[in-house]
Amino acid sequence: MNALEIKKLVKHFDGVYAVDNLSLAIEKGKIAAVIGPNGSGKTTLINLISGIVPIDSGVVIINGVGARAIKPYNVPAYGITRTFQEVRLFNQMTVIDNILVVLTERNVFGALFEKHSAHHLKRVEEVLIKVGLWEKRSALAQSLSYGQRKLLEIGRALAMDSEVFLLDEPFAGLFPEMLKIMVAAVKDLRASGKTVVLIEHNMDLIRELADHVVVLDSGKLLAEGKSEEVLSRPEVMEAYLGE
């Protein structure tokens, strides 16, 4: 079964086709890596699926539900969450509040003036321990190091309890210690039946993690398939090295 499917997706920015008539299907419970040279449209693809930029044409089908236009605040309702290539946190808030804020039961008027309940606090603790930031829980997000910020962002995504996780270069620039935490978090997602779309440049990590690889070039699909098979194709390596 497909967790995520896109059909003939198009997005252009004054003349540049960032995503060009792209069709893909991503199987539920798998890790799909999206690779491609700089500017090949990987981030734009995630931006389209998460409603950050509007779709020019085409359809996104999430768990069998099709959408031509996605509103950012409906994204959680579709069971989708994401991280950003340039980490985006709630900087003026503490680490713990960065997670708590996503745990609000939505659309409940009564929750307006309430405090968080015990099960929320328990969930936050779980998530922060998992990403190794429990000790830092009272620090302001803006005071964290680069790696800690990446981990907090993935923590926020984990707390969303979504079905599909769109991760834009989550490993980039991480030192080994934090890389290990991040890799474990991504593997755990697959182990619990979630679907991961992973943008990544590091081939070793892709070989280790990805079940499926999608290669983009200038917004078009260059190749896709089982990771070992796709990564051994000469034209794929050429797209990477030949720029």
Partner: protein, 288 residues
């Protein structure tokens, strides 16, 4: 008699009123990132609502005050719902929103003038019945005491709301990054609507208290808005603590400034303070 104690009382009162305006203004700015100039005229809405219900209709004053505060809140909420929200949905820039708020300011002020004439009016029944308290060597009226207590209560209430409730977390998240707030499931437009209600209700209370302290006229909103905005900017726009600090600093500088010179200089002094801040610390006391 030494003038200093009275000067201090005056500073505190002025600061308190500016703080009330700045609190609501900052709350709204933090959530929306545009200068809602209509905030000033909302204060007048509160003042005139009390005038109408208490003096024209003769209702109980306390009831009239509650209605006035609620009406101001509803006016602010309505502005957002029917003017700003449709503009935001059309991806209007903050400049467009600012101009729209200026238009709303002018229109509402004109309606008030048509309904109630431009004449200056007082809200208090008879000035003689105001109780007056002496503290040290200064004099403070009952209304002014209520102003002070309101500021303390509202500041504390807002801080509790923003830092202790789930609603407050959502508001702060939205102030930090509205787009991310959306994708983690925060309905930002609904939050902005509620923020407009709360911020405008506080502005309404400011207008009502000024009405009891001195009086009301349709143009009262402009003066309040300008002082509130100056307080916000020198304190750090969008920052709740900053607004309060800026307000008292403004009250201090203004009132000390006119200690030895004529009172007409007050506004000039306020703007001089603003310019000093814009030149040397444009983000205000609290923001770096």
């Amino acid at each position: 008699m030494d003038i200093l104690p009275q000067l201090i009382v005056n500073i505190i009162i002025a600061g308190a009123i500016y703080a009330l305006v700045a609190l609501g203004f900052n709350l709204i700015y933090g959530a929306t990132k545009f200068f809602n100039l209509a905030h000033g005229v909302i204060a007048a809405v509160g003042g005139y609502a009390v005038f109408y219900f208490a003096k024209t209709l003769g209702w109980n004053v306390y009831l009239a005050v509650i209605i006035g505060v609620l009406l101001a809140g509803i006016a602010g909420y309505g502005l957002d719902k029917f003017v700003y929200l449709p503009l935001r949905k059309r991806k209007a820039s903050n400049m467009v929103l600012l101009v729209a708020s200026l238009g709303a300011f002018t229109a509402i002020q004109a309606v008030i003038a048509i309904l109630f004439t431009s004449q200056f009016k007082t809200l208090s029944y008879s000035v003689g019945t105001q109780r007056i308290f002496e503290i040290f060597d200064g004099v403070i009226t009952q209304t002014q005491l209520i102003i002070l207590m309101s500021v303390a209560l509202i500041t504390a209430g807002l801080i509790l709301l923003l830092y202790k409730t789930r609603f407050g977390k959502a508001v702060r998240a939205m102030s930090d990054d509205e787009e991310v707030a959306k994708i983690v499931g925060i309905n930002t437009n609904r939050i902005i609507g509620r923020i407009f209600f709360i911020g405008s209700a506080i502005a309404g209370l400011a207008g009502i208290l000024v009405g009891f302290d001195t009086g009301i006229e349709p143009t009262m909103g402009l003066g309040l808005l300008l002082k509130g905005v100056i307080a916000s900017i020198i304190g750090g726009v969008g920052n709740i603590y900053g607004g309060v600090m800026g307000a008292f600093l403004l009250g201090f500088v203004e009132n000390f400034g006119i200690w030895k010179i004529s009172g007409e200089w007050k506004d000039a002094i306020a703007f001089a303070l603003l310019i000093v801040f814009l030149l040397f610390r444009p983000k205000g006391i609290m923001n770096k």
